[in-house]
Symmetry: C2
Subunit: 448 residues, 2 copies
């Protein structure tokens, strides 16, 4: 099915009925005072729909999960929400009962400032672990953000900036498509650079495959009319193929969250789960899924490209595994191997390290069956370095050229079965280590 998606500006405010704001309220207590001072990085974002919206969410499966995740879980399950308030600079994780109280208070402040019913605001946090939120600052920030709300690209940009931590650039995407004659928009913002290997589920319970592992946050809005069940199904599918397929450093955060609000302002015939509706409506659902999956994948790849110290995005395309779980295990062993990642950094087509990682993975691998090759991103023109476990006649120079670009695909064919997977990974650089070894002179550097 060919779905026409047109890029539009405005990310979270591209869809009708949504407004956003991003302000500085000194969550890190830098002492520069509240208010969006010149030069101070915004640290509190607000996203609001002008009417109640269906909501879907995906959350970290880390057993140590942050207070905002605990607050969002039941609210998303309830199915309706209207606002999202997010802070950066403090993760509100490992903060015990006080943390939970603070996350609830943060939601309440937003509801009060926006005059929304209780329980309709969702919360997100990212930053340092184990420190209490400075609630006076949070409250002041929310009040200011509520005043500054607006629907321009600049408003969306401020929100995208406010959720950044170690990110070096904003991450925004939005698209427009048609659903039964109506124009629908869907857009989002996200953040994440380190502690990135999300493994999210809709209810925080672990997926059947083994637990994966960021703080990454993503907030999506659409003016499509979608039932809550259809919205959750679509988001689960989109996240499974995007955020849950990326890894920067193999560490899964306590705060990973994706939230999607669908307010129905576009006036399309309400989407229901595929299979439960007419074929026309089914087609509409598929179109919506395609739009949502596209936006999530674009945002997810932005996270890898902007990963801490990252200089290369490598798409690991593994096929021929015996089972889906084995495909996953084999691809992640390669994508998370320190030796493979450092060789990518060096532009070194080191197949020995790749086959070594495959060999110690939980997947069944046979040395004399493995094919390894490289291509440009998405290209089917593959340069094979290894066929059936043996080096091909491709020269070392040619292989170096294949792994020299900032982005390339690594093709692995195990030739043992029919299961495959894709993992978006990154190299491991001196800059990653330098950034993360922290600055001990600054106690506030505690946490992820």
């Amino acid at each position: 099915m060919n779905v026409k998606l047109s890029p539009v500006s405005g990310s979270v405010v591209a869809a009708q009925g949504f407004e956003a704001a991003g302000v500085f309220c000194d969550i890190k207590r830098l002492g520069t005072g509240a208010g969006s001072e010149k030069g101070a990085k915004r640290d509190l974002a607000l996203i609001v729909s002008d009417r109640p919206a269906s909501v879907a969410g995906m959350f970290t499966t880390n057993q140590i999960c942050a207070a905002p995740v605990k607050v969002c879980l039941p609210r998303v399950k309830q199915g309706r929400a209207q606002a999202i308030v997010v802070n950066s600079g403090n993760a509100n994780a490992c903060t015990g009962k006080q943390g939970l109280k603070d996350a609830l208070a943060m939601a309440s402040f937003a509801e009060q400032a926006l005059r929304l019913p209780r329980g309709t605001a969702l919360v997100g946090s990212t930053g340092r672990i184990g420190l209490p939120l400075p609630m006076d600052n949070v409250r002041a920030g929310i009040v200011e953000a509520a005043v500054e709300l607006g629907g321009t690209t600049e408003h969306a940009r401020h929100a995208a900036e406010a959720i950044m931590t170690s990110d070096t650039r904003r991450k925004e995407v939005a698209v427009e498509f048609r659903l039964s004659g109506k124009t629908v928009r869907l857009g989002g913002i996200c953040k994440g650079a380190g502690m990135i290997q999300p493994g999210m589920s809709a209810n925080g319970s672990r997926p059947p495959a083994r637990p994966l592992h960021a703080t990454m946050l993503c907030f999506l809005t659409t003016d499509a009319a979608v039932s809550q069940r259809a919205l959750q199904a679509a988001l689960s599918e989109a996240v499974a193929g995007s955020f849950n397929r990326i890894t920067v450093d193999g560490d899964m955060s306590t705060n990973d969250t994706v939230l999607l609000l669908a307010n129905g302002a576009a006036g399309n015939a309400r989407l229901e789960l595929a299979g439960r509706a007419s074929s026309k409506r089914n087609q509409d659902f598929h179109t919506f899924q395609a739009g949502l999956s596209h936006v999530c994948l674009e945002l997810a790849k932005m996270i890898v490209r902007d990963g801490e110290g990252v200089s290369r995005l490598v798409t690991v395309r593994l096929n021929g595994a015996k089972t889906a779980e084995q495909a996953e295990a084999a691809a992640r062993a390669v994508a998370n191997s320190a030796l493979v990642k450092t060789s990518w950094h060096g532009g070194d087509p080191n197949w020995g390290r790749i086959i070594d990682a495959l060999g110690y993975s939980a997947a069944t691998v046979q040395e004399d069956k493995v094919d390894l090759g490289y291509s440009a991103p998405g290209s089917r023109k593959i340069i094979w370095s290894l066929k059936r476990g043996q080096p091909t006649r491709v020269t070392f120079k040619e292989l170096c050229a294949a792994v020299a670009p900032k982005e390339f695909d690594l093709h692995i064919q195990l030739n043992l079965g029919r299961c495959g997977t894709i993992i978006y990974s990154a190299d491991l650089t001196e800059e990653y280590v330098a950034f993360n070894k922290g600055d001990v002179s600054d106690p506030s550097s505690l946490g992820g």
Copy 2:
């Protein structure tokens, strides 16, 4: 039981009846010609017993296993051997049928040069993956080594040098102890610096716990008289508590090998498996086990200390897990987390990253039960940073002081059960990345 172990010099030739040599034969084809030229690093080692010995071995559980491992497996099973020949600079891994032929030829050359019966020499290789062994050089090296064999500490030192790859220093240990009135010696050499997280078993089959992950090589000799079954049991136990408990980068090699020869020259009453013999003989077995375990642990820690770019050795002592497998999973998640390892490098007591890693591990963890603390190596004086998931009153300065030394212990108490484990880990440094990103201008840098 208190076992008296006295350190002695000579490592692999400390025990009676053993001789060793280490020579340069240009395995990397540097073109400087054969012969131990001044300045050229030795790359071929020979260790020989003057009589047939019992043999035990432990080998990588990587499914992609190198040719020398494939040659050793059946020979060790047979139970008797008399010589070990090892090269560095080339792993003879992923070299197909030719590789297997070469490993067998290497053993044959040694047997011929030493006039030993066929099948009595064992082989080991470490270095680049995927390149054929230069057999003319190997043969010339073996002939020269056989001529240079001797029983002095210098001979042992040459052998220890010859097996080094990215190691910056030799790794040698030997001890002396008493068995039923006889003086027994046991010593060894090892190598390993990167691709270090061994998970070895006696037969290459995977252990019940999930596969772990170096090239590390270790060669041990003793003049104790030990039955083959008792020797294998003792070595399995010693490796489980030493080499299989270390990690530098989480990557398990295709070549990991530990070999132990016991030639009986000390004249002690032959040791049998504990429980099958008299209580006096049982005590002797325990003494032998204590000596072997000590030597293996000292050698294993040397590998971590000399790990690529390593600046800190951190002993992760995890307790209170529900099962042994969960203890293992939790401790390894922490010991292999890129974020935890970079914080160790920075001297940053970042408990947020540690609890995050525990939370995404396959072990059951409850935030409000976790205790985290630090001590000097082996000390019971623990400074707790976290009790029941909450920060203690210990100051940030005190915690920084606790993680500042080159070596410290990290204590994790999950408070959920009675199972525990110990993992010897290291920090992740810019130097590790710089070293491993390789030099693309040199095609011989291919491999692990």
